[in-house]
Symmetry: C2
Subunit: 204 residues, 2 copies
Amino acid sequence: MSEKSPVLNAPVQSCRISRPRERIVATARDLFHKFGIRSIGVDTIAEAAGTNKMTLYRHFGSKDDLICECLQEVARDVETMWGEITASNPNDPRAQLQEWVRRSAECVVNDGRGCDLANAAVELTEADHPARKVIEGVKRTYYIHLVDLCRAVGVAQPELLADALSLLFEGARVSRQSVGAEGPSARFVRMSEAVISAFADRTH
Amino acid sequence: MSEKSPVLNAPVQSCRISRPRERIVATARDLFHKFGIRSIGVDTIAEAAGTNKMTLYRHFGSKDDLICECLQEVARDVETMWGEITASNPNDPRAQLQEWVRRSAECVVNDGRGCDLANAAVELTEADHPARKVIEGVKRTYYIHLVDLCRAVGVAQPELLADALSLLFEGARVSRQSVGAEGPSARFVRMSEAVISAFADRTH
DNA sequence: GACCAGAGTTACCGGTCAGTAACATCAACG
DNA sequence: CGTTGATGTTACTGACCGGTAACTCTGGTC
């Protein structure tokens, strides 16, 4: 079960690999994603992360803290993705938007559960839950990224296109979760491209 | 607190009003909707319904049973809504589709929490949970209704339009829940109409 | 070797939750 | 009046869950 760094104990030791804290967050993200936040107890997380509850509580003041940390890591991943999209086709916003569609579709098909942030918003109904600020913040910056990209493409109504695309994406993820993979979410790419070209036609 | 039928105890008595069972389902639907399924215990439901846990368990074998009953009532409401849409503008599918957009937008604006079925799918992650069949069934018939309506309107690709509209709607509800009322969901009507006219333009 | 911070172990607390048992009440109906 | 069926009441079980206390262990540093 336990990895005791079987080889190479001499020089790499200074850079500690797989610290409990990182394993806890990674495990929590995985379990929260698969089974929901409220279904998973801290004991389960700690055990699955190969550690124990006390260590978990030494790093995170509460389960809510851990939840927020997980969502913030999601936020970082999202930011990384936008960087990769920009870097994928420099100075070609149209291709970048296609790359966004491709990645989003990949996300819809490969992942039966929806967006972690949206799911958290469903599960954490307390109006003052600390996670709500994180969720709102990430979704907001995500939308700004998408608007910027649509504007760079040069459509007449970049905000409206970004609205439509983000709702299509959000809807596809939640639809796949309710109806299954053969439902409307299966045509996400075609719909997105149809909407994009519809908006593009109106400008040129 | 308790209503003891203060007046009119003579003739209406035979038709029992507000039976515990109905109050339980109505209360459960309300509380599940507002606070989520997992946050609400059976005790809370029973008390809020003006009854007690034992009576609840005499009518429903388990909490999961009650959940399914609630979702099935949602299904009945949805079916009623489709009937009303059809009756609202007989023989005018285009107006019926606009009525659908209007009602859906109303739903998005007035209701901070999303669709009960989609939310239930998020919360109940067990693959074999009895509620999942209900959810899938309702969403499927809903989609069929929408496809039929789009076909009646006479667009070239009714399935794709129905896909797009249902995803926009689904996305709007979940987006409003995560980002708030000022996010992309605020432009749901404009987006829907834009998509509808884009699909309609391609046919004529 | 002394020290110390991080991590593991065990046990516990208080609360909540789904579900049940046993008994009391009450209204309708014959 | 007596029966019956639905409901109310109270108390309970067993499991789980978030969080804490106290102690031990270990690996690195000076």
